[in-house]
């Protein structure tokens, strides 16, 4: 078959390339979707690692917070009680 040249040929080439790429992307994404690969990777690989990370985290002990309004790191609190209640 004689190869088309000129502007029409270029357009055809670009369209053909776009179509091929679109089909390939569709096939790969559809395979991930259909075989539920996203969930399988998250369940078996990602979440166990994340959970191990969370299990080893240190947490601030909030029971050490005094129970009163606007008490604590007062210097960082730009919102003093307008009625002056429970001031430390």
């Amino acid at each position: 078959m004689e190869k088309k040249t000129g502007a029409a040929g270029k357009v055809f080439e670009v369209l053909w390339w776009t179509l091929q790429t679109a089909v390939a992307v569709y096939a790969v994404l559809f395979a991930i979707f259909y075989f539920d690969l996203d969930s399988k990777i998250i369940y078996r690989r990602i979440l166990p690692k994340l959970n191990a990370h969370y299990d080893n985290m240190r947490h601030r002990d909030i029971t050490k917070n005094p129970y009163a309004q606007n008490v604590g790191p007062a210097a960082r609190n730009p919102w003093p009680d307008p009625l002056g209640r429970h001031e430390p």
Partner: protein, 536 residues
């Protein structure tokens, strides 16, 4: 249609038909798609060419929305994933959309999936807003967004804060961090329940309140606002949570107590004063001014959502043409009524209206396997929110309406301020759980009129074992079911904590009733018994 010049072998013909239309109703054997224990799919369901590609299209859109979250600020989002345990839940969000829409086809699939997509989309919007202002992700630095974002309890509806044009956004503190967790990935929330029990909370209070408090104990709430507004909605359990939250936040807090017995006209003024007090608190503490016109404009949009909701109920009650599944109906309703006016709800409603009109016009029955029309009553299990999907696929029980959806049903009059405030107070008092479950016996007994109104022939009665209010009235319900000769299936659960009542146990309650009392055969035998004990 022109006939083929040769005869296709019977097996091939069937395969070709299944490829194009999917397996016919009653032959799907959805349980065979699951891997044992994890509940992951061996492969996703083939629903026919068009429907599978539609589900794929929604999957692509959801992946795109997740990409939008990552692109909104790669560093804060990555830091959030490492900082907050609940954030890992959202990795499994797309699987949640699948589970909620199993077995659906055609208009039912489209309408229900659109609801799920809208919730997914708005959850991501909330995450983006939180992370853009979160000082925890910026080494304690409070940026401009921090000062212009409002943090309030998830049971204070978002529509109360429409009137602040300077406000960047308002966020329901526990919606994305806590409430959605068991819906999407149930094991996450148990860490928070255990955390609050580790500092002395007994194991029997409502696990929703317990887990909200547990987030404080593990220091896992984002810090994105200068103030916090809390309430006793839905029940007294929230009061206990508010105390822990007040201690944890250590910032100006406004509590909005709501009357338990809201029928008394004297309590309306109290409720209106509380709403006005909240607006004044925001003005005083943040410097943002309340603007009535802005409020009315947004409220008019919210009223539109309520009107369409009623239209959906009307179709569900009086025809078999409602394309929205019981699962999508319940989740979407509670989600948007709490979050308040957003464009995504209007877009979704417009699409669903088109589908609904088409079903009515062409008399399409979106749920053709329906054997029973069920009303679901009492608090629903959050770790098995797609239970109605299973009910339909396994036994043909179509959930027509549920208790939570019937709350917050008030169109707010906007022509004068007195009526507007009165309606707003009612809307707040009629919030999720409060209107019926905690609103007194005459309200929890609205079940009887709704049973008639929605033309039901079965009740699925959720038995939230940690809800003291509903436990207290259990026996009265049993007597009434017997007296009125209404078939009712009691399904136990513990709201957020799947360890107390497993999903398999909930299914067993239905299986036993359907085989012994109703003497029926399942539509899909592969769904009767399966092990998903290690699943999301």
């Amino acid at each position: 249609m022109r006939k083929l010049p040769f005869k296709l072998p019977e097996g091939l013909k069937k395969k070709a038909k299944e490829f194009w239309y999917g397996k016919p109703d009653g032959e799907r054997r959805l349980g065979e798609l699951y891997e044992d224990k994890t509940g992951l799919y061996k492969h996703r369901e083939w629903r026919g060419f068009a429907d599978t590609n539609y589900a794929f299209w929604v999957w692509l859109r959801a992946v795109g929305v997740a990409g939008k979250l990552a692109a909104s600020g790669p560093l804060p989002v990555a830091r959030a994933l490492m900082r907050y345990r609940w954030m890992s839940t959202y990795l499994t969000g797309i699987a949640w959309i699948d589970r909620g829409n199993e077995g659906l086809r055609g208009e039912a699939l489209r309408a229900s999936m659109e609801h799920f997509y809208a919730m997914f989309y708005d959850s991501v919007r909330q995450l983006i807003t939180q992370f853009q202002a979160d000082s925890h992700l910026r080494f304690g630095v409070r940026n401009r967004a921090w000062y212009k974002t409002l943090d309030h309890d998830e049971t204070i509806p978002g529509h109360l804060f429409y009137g602040f044009p300077e406000m960047k956004d308002d966020i329901l503190a526990q919606l994305t961090t806590c409430f959605l967790n068991p819906h999407v990935c149930r094991p996450t929330i148990t860490h928070y329940i255990d955390a609050v029990e580790s500092i002395g909370l007994p194991a029997d209070p409502c696990p929703l309140c317990a887990s909200e408090a547990g987030l404080c104990v593990l220091d896992d709430y984002p810090d994105f606002s200068p103030v916090f507004l809390t309430t006793n909605q839905a029940c007294d359990g929230s009061v206990g949570t508010s105390i822990i939250q007040d201690m944890y936040w250590n910032k100006p807090l406004y509590a909005m107590p709501q009357p338990m017995r809201f029928d008394d006209p004297d309590v309306q003024k109290f409720c209106i004063d509380e709403i006005k007090g909240a607006w004044k608190f925001i003005e005083d503490e943040t410097g943002m001014k309340f603007d009535l016109e802005t409020f009315k404009k947004k409220m008019a949009g919210y009223n539109q959502l309520t009107r369409f909701e009623r239209e959906k109920w009307d179709v569900a009650a009086n025809t078999p043409y409602n394309p929205v599944s019981g699962t999508a109906q319940a989740l979407y309703r509670i989600f948007y009524s709490e979050v308040g006016e957003r464009k995504i709800w209007h877009r979704t409603d417009a699409k669903v209206k088109k589908l609904m009109d088409r079903c009515i016009e062409k008399q399409i029955r979106p749920f053709p396997m329906t054997r029973h029309r069920a009303l679901v009553w009492s608090c629903a299990p959050l770790y098995y929110s797609y239970f109605p999907t299973w009910l339909y696929n396994c036994w043909g029980i179509q959930v027509v309406m549920n208790m939570d959806s019937l709350m917050s049903d008030r169109v707010v009059r906007l022509d004068n301020e007195d009526d507007m405030m009165d309606d707003l107070a009612h809307l707040f008092e009629w919030g999720p759980m409060r209107r019926m479950a905690v609103g007194g016996q005459q309200h929890i007994f609205e079940i009887w009129e709704n049973y008639e109104k929605f033309h039901c022939d079965l009740v699925i009665m959720f038995d939230q074992v940690a809800c003291k209010g509903m436990d207290g009235i259990h026996g009265v319900f049993e007597d009434e079911f017997r007296r009125r000769n209404i078939p009712a299936i009691w399904v136990p659960h513990e709201l957020m904590d799947h360890r107390t009542v497993e999903r398999a146990e909930m299914r067993r309650a239905v299986n036993d009733y359907m085989t012994t009392v109703m003497q029926e055969e399942p539509i899909d035998p592969s769904l009767v018994e399966f092990d998903d004990s290690m699943g999301w």
